[in-house]
């Protein structure tokens, strides 16, 4: 087992820069997800670690061994592909044993490893079948089994669940988490699905246009996004943004105001800051943190354009008076209706502030949230957080 270190990795396709200066330090035994919209470079980064892409600059270190220039087979890794990449003309046993038998592993040992992997994945009774005779979930297991028999130091998984239907995806997600716990090996997981990333990972790398936007635990990403991109990407429905003016009120407090807001909001900071640019600030607030209040208490006002009732909550889409669209979530079946005029209040403890460069100011978190984040940082392994969705 080993951690992974990536230093200043650059990758270009022709003139197009896909990865520019990626630095990561992944701990031994960690489950890390690469998360981002399509085209952000997450799969390319994974394939660079695997050695399937040549990189233009940088280094990849696995354990204490630099593997940047090694052939894929020599890197002590295993990879699970999105479309499984099973050899269709071989049965499951051959699929699992093919690589081993060509690398001079004794037959008895191959058999032991295959049977062991099959037992872990509960596919022992399928060993004689061909991939065509398997269901999607079974194929996925075989693909993972092919990685397990290699007994690698690092597992690379490229959107392994995206070809499965929704129900099966949830089951396989739990199985993957259990597998990680059982094997204790470092795993890197590429996905565009934030629920997968948030539930499976110890830490998540959010990638934006070939750069690391943030590398942190799932709750850190959610409660303390470091920039506008992460704030807007994590969480569904998306965080709302408003342009505001910000002034420093002492070293640890920022007062938000400006044309868009009625009144002001004082947001406490975690770390004292000495200077603040006056213009170009953005207030961010998640839809479920907004409160519906009476007109005189409100910071902004708007009109309901759509109500989506999901039972436990209702998503209410609004047009603010300045024309901007805005989403809020109300508990249960709050009696708002189409066309109604509503008044919104932004509780200070839920407000995120971003400067003109899109970087977050370090806001103070309440004790409960902070301890939640700290606990997640410390826990390693136990990542099955049930099956929301």
């Amino acid at each position: 087992m080993a951690g992974v270190q990536i230093n200043q990795l650059h990758k270009k396709f022709g003139n197009l820069s896909v990865l520019s200066g990626v630095d990561l330090d992944i701990a031994d035994g960690e489950f890390v997800s690469f998360l981002g919209p399509s085209g952000c470079g997450k799969t390319t980064l994974l394939r660079s670690i695997a050695g399937l892409e040549d990189i233009n600059a940088g280094a990849v270190i696995l354990g204490d061994r630099e593997i940047t220039q090694l052939a894929p087979a020599k890197r002590d890794i295993a990879m699970v592909f999105q479309n499984y990449a099973l050899y269709p003309h071989m049965n499951v046993y051959k699929n699992l044993s093919f690589g081993l038998s060509l690398n001079g592993v004794p037959r008895a040992e191959i058999d032991e490893r295959v049977q062991n992997a099959a037992r872990i994945l509960q596919i022992s009774e399928l060993l004689k079948r061909r991939p065509k005779q398997l269901s999607g979930g079974q194929r996925q297991r075989v693909a993972i089994g092919r990685a397990i028999v290699r007994d690698p130091k690092l597992f690379l998984l490229d959107e392994p669940l995206s070809n499965l239907d929704a129900g099966l995806r949830v089951t396989m997600r739990v199985e993957l988490a259990n597998l990680h716990k059982r094997l204790g090996v470092t795993m890197i997981y590429v996905t565009h699905d934030q629920v997968e990333a948030m539930t499976l990972s110890n830490r998540v790398v959010v990638l934006d246009k070939g750069k690391v936007a943030q590398f942190g635990t799932p709750l850190e990403l959610f409660y303390a996004p470091q920039n506008l991109f992460v704030a807007g990407f994590i969480g569904s429905p998306k965080m709302n943004f408003l342009s505001v003016d910000a002034t420093l009120e002492g070293a640890r407090s920022v007062r938000l105001g400006g044309e868009e807001l009625d009144g002001t909001i004082d947001v406490a900071l975690n770390v004292p800051i000495s200077e603040l640019q006056n213009s170009g600030h953005t207030l961010g607030i998640r839809p479920d943190n907004v409160e519906l209040v009476a007109e005189h208490e409100a910071h902004v006002h708007g009109q309901v354009v759509l109500v989506e009732r999901l039972g436990t909550e209702s998503q209410v889409h609004l047009n603010l008076d300045n024309g901007q669209s805005f989403t809020i979530i109300t508990r249960g079946t709050h009696p708002v209706s189409f066309g109604e005029r509503v008044h919104l209040k932004f509780p200070a403890q839920h407000c995120h502030i971003f400067n003109a460069a899109g970087e977050a100011l370090p806001r103070a978190l309440d004790a409960e949230t902070r301890s939640l984040i700290d606990r997640q940082k410390q826990s390693h392994g136990a990542t099955t957080r049930g099956e929301e969705r």
Partner: protein, 311 residues
């Protein structure tokens, strides 16, 4: 109203069903008159003594009997054809596969090479033969000239019975562009991930070719195997124009035997019987290959229609 509505409806329905056949009728008529008709006609002919001019007489299976028991040329030409096929079929497939694998690499100008390798398949047979006649020529051929530079005295390729068949095999292989193209399309339809997964598992390049490429390509290999056998049996143009069947009938192919019986000796009935024997041989060989295919051909249909059944 006088008309019966029921029969009108039925008439409409009949025409509705007929319409598609009317649309493809030019092809149906062409097939009936120019393919199926002559085919059956030739079968009938094969039971007759059928000179081009003069009396036709029904002779029963006499043509077949004479061919199989009295005409040594039948067996000789068949043997020449089989020898030719034994060289031509494997070389056509193996060289076609090697070229396809080479052209499938991502190298600069692979498009140009693809065109160059296919070019001979486009050239007319006669032009091709003329080129090869010059290459093989005993006195002024480029092949013997080049051999001479290396200090080797080249044989009389087309005049020496021990070399002539081989010379024709090589000239025929000039047209393996078609085989190459079929195999190349096959190669390009193999999912790249299979190779990537194999690379990560440490499978060496030769094993990727033997255990992944060839099995995945087997349906195309089967197809080219059968078409190569058929091409070998129908070999006529090159031999006819290059050697005329000589020397000492060393390149006297079965197709040439049929050709001579029909257009030199005007024994149309006999030639028709020859053709049917050739047809049966090709049919038997093809069926044999098809039968063997269940053991070595893998039909994919798996990676493409990703069935997403539940586990």
């Amino acid at each position: 109203m006088g008309t019966d509505p029921d029969s009108a409806v039925q008439r409409n329905r009949f025409f509705e069903k007929l319409t598609p056949y009317l649309f493809i009728s030019p092809w149906i008529l062409g097939f009936l008159f120019f393919t199926l008709g002559p085919l059956i006609f030739s079968l009938v002919m094969s039971f007759y003594d059928w000179p081009v001019v003069g009396e036709r007489t029904f002779v029963g299976v006499d043509n077949y009997r004479v061919m199989l028991t009295e005409d040594p040329l039948f067996w000789d030409s068949l043997w020449v054809t089989i020898k030719f096929g034994l060289f031509f079929v494997p070389f056509n497939i193996i060289l076609g596969l090697l070229l396809a694998v080479l052209l499938n690499q991502k190298v600069l100008g692979s498009g140009i090479f693809r065109t160059i390798f296919y070019l001979p398949s486009v050239i007319s047979g006669v032009a091709l033969v003329t080129i090869w006649a010059w290459i093989y020529s005993h006195e002024y051929g480029i092949l013997n000239f080049l051999l001479g530079l290396a200090g080797i005295e080249g044989p009389n390729w087309l005049g020496d019975p021990s070399w002539s068949l081989l010379a024709i095999v090589v000239a025929s292989l000039w047209g393996l562009g078609g085989t190459m193209l079929i195999l190349l399309t096959g190669l390009q339809s193999i999912p790249k991930e299979l190779y990537e997964a194999a690379k990560i598992s440490g499978v060496p390049a030769w094993a990727r070719l033997v255990f992944i490429t060839i099995p995945m390509l087997s349906p195309m290999l089967l197809f080219t195997f059968i078409t190569s056998i058929i091409a070998a049996f129908q070999q006529l143009t090159i031999a006819l124009l290059l050697t005329g069947g000589g020397p000492l009938e060393s390149t006297y192919f079965f197709a040439m035997y049929i050709y001579d019986n029909a257009f030199q000796y005007f024994e149309m009935g006999f030639a028709a019987a020859n053709s049917w024997v050739m047809f049966l041989i090709i049919l038997a060989l093809s069926m044999l290959v098809m039968k063997s295919s269940s053991a070595w051909v893998y039909y994919e249909g798996e990676m493409k229609n990703k069935e997403q059944a539940d586990g």
